[in-house]
């Protein structure tokens, strides 16, 4: 009889409470496991780690829902960008990010003639390749002790074959900045006709240095490149612009993409530029706060980085190589860019995120063996 009843008991379905209990136990087990798992912390990418302002996405989405069958007109955007720097709209060229505009500038300036391009180094990692692709020869010029480009060294490196010099402010990877006076001095000391390519992709993090793009009104061989990938958190839009001097419309036209920038990118750039006060101060403050937080956490240790601006930190240790630092952090699932990417074996580049990430980085660095 018991066997007979057991046969039918096996067809009794589990009550919803029992099913839920089983699922809850599985969830608790997964959560418990998640606590012990260390998530990956990517501090290698220089792109901003948060999404862009929601209104930027809205503006881009709105643009996509309009007449995307038509070619775009960059006129309004150029006006908005120019107004931010107090220059004429004809001196502003929107493009697919500062990197593409720098590539176009190298091609335009070096085309046919080649020549040397002294680059404040370590600087933006792709620049030497872009110079080489354009037929030029990149020449690394060491930075000053503060991690910023040294105008005197750049000027000294410029010779008769020099067509342009390149520097960044704030500098990627060190965060060092140059001010308007330094750029003016550099322009004065360079041989006549030499272009200054100023990569200002991180400039939105720097308020102390002033608006270097406005210098194009007084320096006739200055090109300033701005990006939306960093402080505007729009790396996926591939959006940037260049500002050049008066009377160089032909050169500026060669920097522009053949048929302009996409409608969503234009809409996003226009909103971001017209509303900088709504979204940049918070990120600027966050980057500065994390720099200070990391500096405070590393005070008294063998680790140090130049005081600078922005979310990128050029970290070194008195007792470890950059490769050792990167390997030590990677073992704790924190990924940074080894300095070997710039030919430097003493440093690593760290892209700062929020306070939690900074604390985890600091804790991992404190575990470094002597």
């Amino acid at each position: 009889m018991r066997r007979f009843l057991d046969y039918y008991r096996q067809f009794e379905a589990l009550a919803p409470e029992e099913v839920s209990r089983e699922l809850r136990e599985r969830r608790d087990e997964q959560r418990a496991r998640a606590v012990t798992e260390q998530p990956v912390l990517d501090l290698a990418s220089p792109a901003w780690h948060e999404p862009p302002h929601a209104e930027i996405v809205n503006a881009a989405t709105f643009a996509l829902r309009r007449a995307v069958n038509a070619y775009t007109d960059a006129g309004d955007l150029a006006g908005t960008l120019a107004a931010r720097h107090g220059v004429e709209p004809g001196r502003v060229v929107a493009g697919h990010g500062a990197g593409e505009l720098l590539r176009a500038a190298c091609q335009a300036i070096l085309a046919g003639a080649g020549g040397e391009v002294p680059i404040a180094w370590p600087g933006w990692g792709h620049l030497p390749r872009l110079v080489g692709e354009a037929g030029g020869r990149p020449v690394g010029v060491p930075l000053g002790r503060d991690g910023a480009a040294d105008p005197a060294s750049l000027a000294a490196a410029a010779g008769p074959r020099t067509r342009a010099v390149a520097l960044a402010s704030p500098n990627d990877p060190t965060g060092g900045t140059v001010d308007a006076a330094a750029i003016r001095r550099l322009a004065r000391e360079l041989p006549a006709g030499t272009w200054i390519l100023l990569d200002a992709a991180l400039a939105d993090f720097d308020t102390a240095g002033g608006d270097l793009a406005a210098l194009t009104s007084e320096l006739d061989r200055l090109l300033v490149f701005r990006s939306f990938s960093k402080a505007h958190a729009m790396a996926g839009f591939r959006a940037g612009y260049a500002v050049g001097p008066l009377g160089e419309q032909e050169l500026l036209a060669r920097l522009a993409p053949t048929l302009g920038v996409s409608a969503p990118a234009q809409a996003g750039m226009a909103w971001a530029t017209a509303n900088v006060a709504r979204h940049l101060p918070r990120r600027r403050a966050l980057a500065a706060a994390q720099r200070e937080r990391l500096a405070a956490a590393l005070a008294g240790s063998q680790l140090a980085f130049p005081a600078g601006t922005g979310p990128l930190v050029w970290l070194s240790s008195a007792a470890h190589t950059g490769a050792e630092l990167a390997a030590h952090l990677a073992a704790r699932r924190i990924f940074v860019t080894p300095g070997s990417a710039w030919g430097d074996d003493r440093h690593v580049r760290v892209a700062l995120r929020g306070a939690e990430a900074t604390d985890r980085l600091a804790a991992a660095l404190r575990d470094l063996p002597d």
């Binding site: 046969y7 096996q10 067809f11 009794e12 379905a13 589990l14 948060e50 862009p52």
Partner: protein, 157 residues
């Protein structure tokens, strides 16, 4: 990671509708052969028929039985109040007992149906209860209005 993907609903509308989850057993049942399944199917039909009869008893036999008992109480005690109390309390008590019995039969029916090879999720008690109520109501109305005819004051015999 940026989370501005418009298709990312945060979990809303993902998964099945409530009450449509497949049956979950404590362990995968070991099913018997075809003959046993056919016998289980026949047994399930029998249980369903009994369940229907039990439900039907709620609408006729049980109230009539309690009215008879109430009349006996009235006859023996001479108290109409006590008779009414016994009738209603008794009807309520047997209603509860009948429903408890029907619920057990319904559970047995579900298990037999599953043993017979059907994915039987729900019982049939609520449907039987509703259908028997409607059938009895229709039958009573037919008897009252057609067979028995209107009240004598309206259509004296």
């Amino acid at each position: 990671m940026p989370r501005n993907d418009p298709t990312d609903t945060g979990g809303l509308f993902i998964g099945r509708r409530p009450g449509t989850a497949p049956l979950r057993y404590r362990a995968a049942p070991e099913r018997a052969g075809e003959r046993r399944r056919r016998a289980d199917a026949a047994l399930a039909a029998l249980v369903l028929a009994l369940e229907t009869l039990v439900c039907l008893s709620l609408w006729g036999p049980q109230p009539v039985a309690w009215l008879w008992i109430g009349s006996q109480v009235d006859y023996r005690t001479g108290s109409i109040s006590l008779a009414l109390l016994v009738t209603f309390a008794g009807m309520l008590a047997t209603l509860m007992l009948t429903l408890a019995l029907a619920a057990r039969m319904d559970r047995a029916w579900r298990i037999l149906r599953r043993a017979a090879g059907h994915e039987q999720q729900q019982g049939s008690l609520s449907r039987i209860f509703a259908v028997t109520a409607i059938v009895v109501l229709v039958a009573f109305s037919f008897w009252f209005a057609i067979i028995e005819g209107p009240a004598p004051s309206l259509a004296p015999r």
